[in-house]
């Protein structure tokens, strides 16, 4: 694959660092934008991130210094930083106050990154790491959204929901993903989007021999389903409601149906 020059440069640093850590047997996993890239997201243009155990962080930094990287002061106490020329490499050990554990590293899977095989952080861990970082000054969702979209099938969203706890930022992000249809929402797991739900019920009402009603309008708003239109007799009305309840258990079915009337007065129209 051809990459733009800056990405190429980042990848070169990434591969050098990974090879050195591997050679010195420092347990690590690729993290951040390039881990997402290894799992199918577009390439990152920012920095190169690795996760390491807190007790290995200093040793990992020394390994990078050993291959010519320049250590830099990290303002935060949860990572160590080094530069390979212009390219920044971060060694994360306690992101968002959650220390990287041997279990995190064990969940990483060996993947090829630009033809070099290395452990790449688990997709769920990756998304969790990103979401735990959300806060008042870190709530630009565009990057995480890109990653969530690319990795959605690899992510265990139930674990994400369970582990982000009650962070309002995480809840907002999950809400966004749900509304965008990237993921289906929690207790609504397996629910069909309302438009399809309405279409499906409408077809059933037309095709089910108990109803055979082609003229029923179905509107789905949240848990509420509104049925309107005319049916040919009172019993048919009951059956339409039965079929709707049967197809959509757990929804409130609202009867706005009316029965066809033909008791109007006969009048003659003169056509000339």
């Amino acid at each position: 694959m051809e990459h733009e020059p800056h990405v190429k440069e980042l990848l070169t640093t990434l591969k050098r660092a990974a090879s050195a850590l591997k050679a010195h047997e420092v347990p690590f996993a690729l993290s951040g934008g390039f881990a997402a890239f290894a799992r199918g997201a577009p390439p990152s243009r920012k920095d190169v991130d690795f996760v390491v155990l807190p007790e290995d962080a200093e040793r990992a930094l020394r390994v990078l210094i050993g291959i010519g990287f320049t250590p830099a002061d990290a303002p935060e106490d949860w990572l160590l930083k080094a530069y390979d020329g212009e390219v920044e490499v971060d060694l994360l050990h306690t992101p968002a106050n959650v220390p990287i554990t041997p279990a995190t590293l064990a969940r990483a899977t060996p993947l090829e990154v630009d033809s070099v095989r290395m452990p790449v952080m688990d997709a769920t861990d990756l998304v969790l790491l990103r979401m735990r970082a959300f806060g008042e000054h870190e709530c630009d969702f565009s990057g995480p959204l890109l990653i969530a979209r690319a990795l959605r099938e690899q992510v265990d969203w139930d674990r994400v929901r369970a582990e982000v706890g009650d962070s309002p930022y995480a809840a907002a992000f999950l809400g966004l993903l749900t509304r965008l249809g990237v993921i289906s929402g929690g207790e609504q797991e397996g629910r069909v989007p309302p438009q399809y739900l309405a279409g499906r019920l409408q077809r059933t009402l037309a095709e089910d021999p108990r109803t055979a009603e082609q003229e029923i309008r179905v509107r789905v708003v949240g848990d509420d389903v509104y049925l309107s239109g005319q049916v040919s007799c009172p019993r048919r009305r009951g059956r339409v409601l039965d079929v709707a309840r049967e197809q959509l258990p757990g929804y409130r079915i609202h009867d706005e149906l009316s029965v066809v009337r033909f008791d109007g007065p006969i009048r003659e129209e003169r056509l000339t």
Binding site: A212, C233, R236, D263, I266, E268, L271, T272
Partner: protein, 244 residues
């Protein structure tokens, strides 16, 4: 002067038994003929057609019917037609019939018709076999209607279809489904024959009154649209000539 009563989409089944006939008591005084514009049954079963036969048999005026899409649903349309004919109802599909009325000879030509759409928003015989078949069905239905209308030797001619020939009478239906509700090719045939009236059903949510491009009055007589047992249309002597 000829007076036509018409209704469609009565959608009979066992639950409707005996509910319609009491409303037909005044028919003799109201009209010379009763036209049924299809969708006489709910699912197109022979049992349902028996209800139709019992509700509309032995009326004081001749009854002429076309079938609708619902009457085809159980692949029993031929049995249904035969059953209705057996009780004296004239069922037409690409045929005409002439009813002798005190005001002259009334010719009725009918087809179920089919979907297609209206000028500028319609299907054409292009692409997949399914699409060609769909559009061809509509064209052939209109051709049968045209031939049936032309074959009539009558003073006044009325076209009877289930599907709509114009958009006017669909007002109230979602615009997106108009192409499924009718075909303008039917209107073309109706105009070519210089019919005095075209009646149709099928569009339950539509409106009663419309007109073809050639000026032929169109009436949507679907029961939910009428809200009365049948529409009554008085046709005064017309001098309309065919447009071709």
């Amino acid at each position: 002067m000829i007076t036509v009563a018409a209704v469609g989409d009565v959608h009979m089944d066992q639950e409707m038994r005996g509910r319609y006939r009491p409303r037909l008591g005044g028919l003799a005084g109201d009209a010379d003929v009763l036209l049924l514009a299809g969708d006489l049954t709910k699912h197109g079963t022979v049992e349902e057609a028996q209800v139709v036969a019992d509700e509309f048999r032995d009326l004081p005026v001749p009854v002429v019917a076309v079938l609708g899409n619902h009457d085809y649903h159980s692949d029993a349309h031929e049995e249904i037609a035969a059953l209705l004919r057996a009780v004296g109802i004239t069922v037409v599909e690409g045929e005409g019939t002439v009813v002798a009325c005190p005001g002259g000879r009334l010719g009725v030509a009918g087809v179920k018709g089919f979907a297609l759409g209206f000028p500028g928003q319609c299907a054409s015989e292009f692409g997949e076999p399914e699409m060609k078949c769909f559009a061809r069905s509509s064209r052939e239905a209109a051709e049968r209607l045209g031939a049936a209308l032309a074959s009539l030797d009558a003073d006044t001619v009325v076209a009877l279809t289930h599907y709509a020939p114009v958009r006017d009478t669909l007002a109230g239906e979602p615009v997106e489904i108009f192409p499924f509700l009718g075909s303008y090719l039917l209107a073309e045939a109706i105009d070519a024959a210089g019919a005095a009236l075209a009646v149709h059903g099928h569009a339950h949510r539509g409106t009663e009154v419309g007109m073809t491009a050639g000026g032929v009055p169109v009436r949507n007589v679907a029961l939910p649209v009428l809200g009365r047992p049948y529409g009554v249309y008085r046709l005064d002597e017309r001098t309309t000539q065919p447009t071709r």
